[in-house]
């Protein structure tokens, strides 16, 4: 990465207070522990992890849809930690999100025209006569027919809805989109179509993506770099193919090996035990309770991200294994 990063996040933390245990004391649940990463202009960063890993939380924290704490959070040179609400609102033009559930992400009561117009209205774009051509352009861009504009979401299939969601995100011509499990709910044949669409858009508009998914193959295919999360911590980050084909972290290796595949002969790395409760995380390396390679030392220190290759980092003490 030569250019200055479009998005730079250092030590992102997030915790929820979950009720009270006594009359006064509050308990809190940490879902993100010091996550740091950056996204270059035009880059696709894949974010992989199982449920509870905090990947969606990262996406929403960056978009400031939820509160979070971080040492640095800069987007396009602007400090998101100190930005005024007014500036943030206009900055939203540059950062967008595509959701997982194509059914929940569209207001069932609004026509596609209204959905897309809302995006344009929010930033005063393409007013008056310029509006209709822009709407047509948007639906065409995502491979839909302009005649669909006056229909409501329930008239569309899941794949079509996801395209509408993409069109909404693209309406404001953002430079960065969070794709939060954007293809997970789709059937395989539709998923491929949408992935191709995203790939095309990326080529055409140079938009950066934070691509969140639990599906490693999808992430590998779409991303430049992949970041692997486990219980709110970064386990490994590196170029997509490298992370996928020669993972340096036992967790990544286990994930990849667990993935069902038609062609690869799977030699599954067995994980022991269950995912620990976020309320009672193991000391040291949080993966050690399930790690087949865990040593007593793993319990003592939280392994830092260490460089293990070109742009490739892994948070594992046992660099000797993989």
């Amino acid at each position: 990465m030569t250019a200055a990063p479009l998005l730079d996040v250092r030590n992102l933390k997030k915790s929820y207070s979950i009720g009270r245990s006594g009359l006064f004391s509050k308990r809190s649940l940490k879902v993100l522990h010091d996550v740091s990463f950056s996204v270059a202009p035009g880059e696709v960063l894949g974010l992989v992890g199982e449920s509870g890993s905090g990947k969606s939380t990262i996406g929403r924290a960056i978009l400031r849809l939820i509160d979070s704490q971080s040492d640095v959070m800069r987007f396009d040179g602007q400090d998101l930690n100190s930005i005024s609400p007014v500036r943030m609102r206009s900055l939203r033009k540059q950062m967008q999100i595509i959701f997982q559930d194509p059914y929940a992400s569209l207001d069932p009561r609004k026509t596609i025209r209204a959905v897309l117009s809302e995006a344009l209205d929010a930033h005063g774009l393409h007013k008056g006569a310029a509006r209709v051509p822009r709407l047509i352009e948007l639906v065409t861009l995502v491979g839909l027919d302009p005649s669909f504009l006056d229909r409501r979401p329930h008239e569309f299939s899941g794949g079509q809805r996801q395209r509408i969601g993409i069109a909404r995100a693209l309406a404001v011509e953002p430079s960065f989109i969070v794709c939060d499990e954007a293809v997970s709910a789709l059937d395989v044949s539709i998923q491929a179509q949408v992935l191709n669409l995203l790939a095309d858009l990326r080529a055409k508009t140079g938009v950066s993506l934070l691509f969140i998914s639990h599906d490693l193959s999808v992430v590998r295919y779409i991303s430049d770099r992949v970041m692997v999360l486990y219980l709110g911590r970064v386990m490994e980050v590196g170029p997509a193919d490298q992370v996928h084909f020669s993972p340096k972290h036992p967790y990544t290796a286990a994930l990849v090996s667990a993935e069902p595949s038609l062609h690869r002969e799977n030699r599954r790395i067995r994980l022991t035990g269950e995912i620990p409760s976020p309320l009672a995380l193991p000391s040291g390396c949080i993966f050690r309770s399930r790690c087949p390679y865990a040593q007593p030392a793993c319990a003592e220190t939280v392994p830092p991200l260490q460089t293990v290759g070109d742009q490739h980092q892994s948070a594992c003490l046992r660099t000797d294994i993989l």
Binding site: G19, R20, S21, G22, L23
Partner: protein, 317 residues
């Protein structure tokens, strides 16, 4: 659980304080002078001097702030004081009356539950079927008959035309159990029928909802007998919402038995409040409202505890 209960108790006390204050202030601005009223019951008139003397006897000559502080202080000691009209102990009157109102409500509730839960379950299980359509239609009609209309009609038919039951009134159970129960029938029925319509709706909806859950399919797939599926996996799960609704209704009923008590001349708590308001018996009004509010809050607490006992998801939180 203990922490939860103590927190709720603290909130309840705070709420009762607010409610007490609201009532106190309301009563100050309500027109009408208890002393004058008492001495002009039935259309007579009393001398200004007599009225003034009575006001002193009632303690109404003291400054409002003093009255308020006394009220708070006494209430905090759970001492409701005495009625300014007849100097009777308010606590004992409430202790006498409350069980009667509760009696109607409980008898009505038992009636409602016995009638509405089986009917609602049957209707929910066969939603859209003949029974459901008939029962729902009858239910909708019954819901639409206000309690006072129903009560009026009941008295007309059962007491005046048929002479089966007393038109109203009250005899203590200890004095004459049979007569007591006879007098209980119509008020309880009036309260119960209305509650039954609500419980029926809730049961039906709840059963309908529970019926669609995956675990019901699991239970059927396990090869359980239909009865067991209905009882253990539909009705038992549906109980939570039903209890919540019944509990909420019990609280509301506590106050809205006014019309029923009025129509049947049943000397319950509402009647006490109505006459206390009429007589501007401030301490009694405050005491009754605080009691009702406290019970309402108490019922809510009990419901929450009950629901958590029924549903481990709430308990485990």
């Amino acid at each position: 659980m203990l922490a939860f209960i103590s927190r709720r108790m603290a909130a309840a006390v705070a709420m009762l304080l607010v409610i007490g204050t609201i009532i106190f202030s309301l009563l100050i601005i309500v027109p009408g002078d208890p002393a004058e009223l008492l001495l002009s019951t039935g259309g007579g008139s009393a001398s200004a001097e007599a009225i003034a003397n009575l006001r002193v006897n009632m303690g109404l000559d003291k400054p409002v702030l003093t009255q308020y502080v006394t009220f708070l202080y006494n209430t905090a000691r759970l001492d409701f004081g005495t009625s300014i009209v007849d100097n009777g102990s308010i606590s004992s009157v409430i202790a006498l009356r409350l069980p009667r109102t509760l009696e109607i409500i409980i008898a009505g509730t038992i009636f409602a539950l016995l009638l509405a839960i089986p009917a609602g379950t049957a209707a929910g299980l066969r939603a859209g079927g003949k029974f459901d359509i008939t029962a729902s239609a009858i239910n909708a009609l019954l819901t639409s008959i206000p309690g006072f209309v129903l009560g009026t009609l009941f008295i007309f038919f059962f007491a005046q035309v048929l002479g089966w039951l007393p038109a109203g009134g009250y005899v203590a159970f200890a004095t004459n159990p049979m007569q007591h129960l006879q007098m209980l029938v119509l008020p309880a029925l009036t309260v119960g029928l209305h509650l039954a319509t609500i419980v029926f709706r809730m049961t039906r909806a709840s059963v309908l909802e529970m019926r669609g859950h995956d675990w019901v399919r699991t239970a059927v797939a396990k090869g359980l007998r239909r009865k067991r599926v209905v009882r253990r996996h539909i009705l038992y799960n549906a109980l939570g919402p039903i209890i919540t609704v019944v509990g909420l209704q019990l609280g509301i009923l506590l106050g809205s038995t006014v019309l029923v008590e009025f129509i049947y001349n049943w000397p319950g708590l509402s009647g006490l409040l109505v006459s206390a308001v009429e007589q501007r018996d401030y301490p009694t009004v405050r005491a009754v409202i605080l009691t009702v509010a406290a019970i309402f809050i108490g019922i809510n607490l009990v419901i929450d505890i009950l629901s958590s006992l029924l549903d481990p998801r709430i308990r485990l939180q």
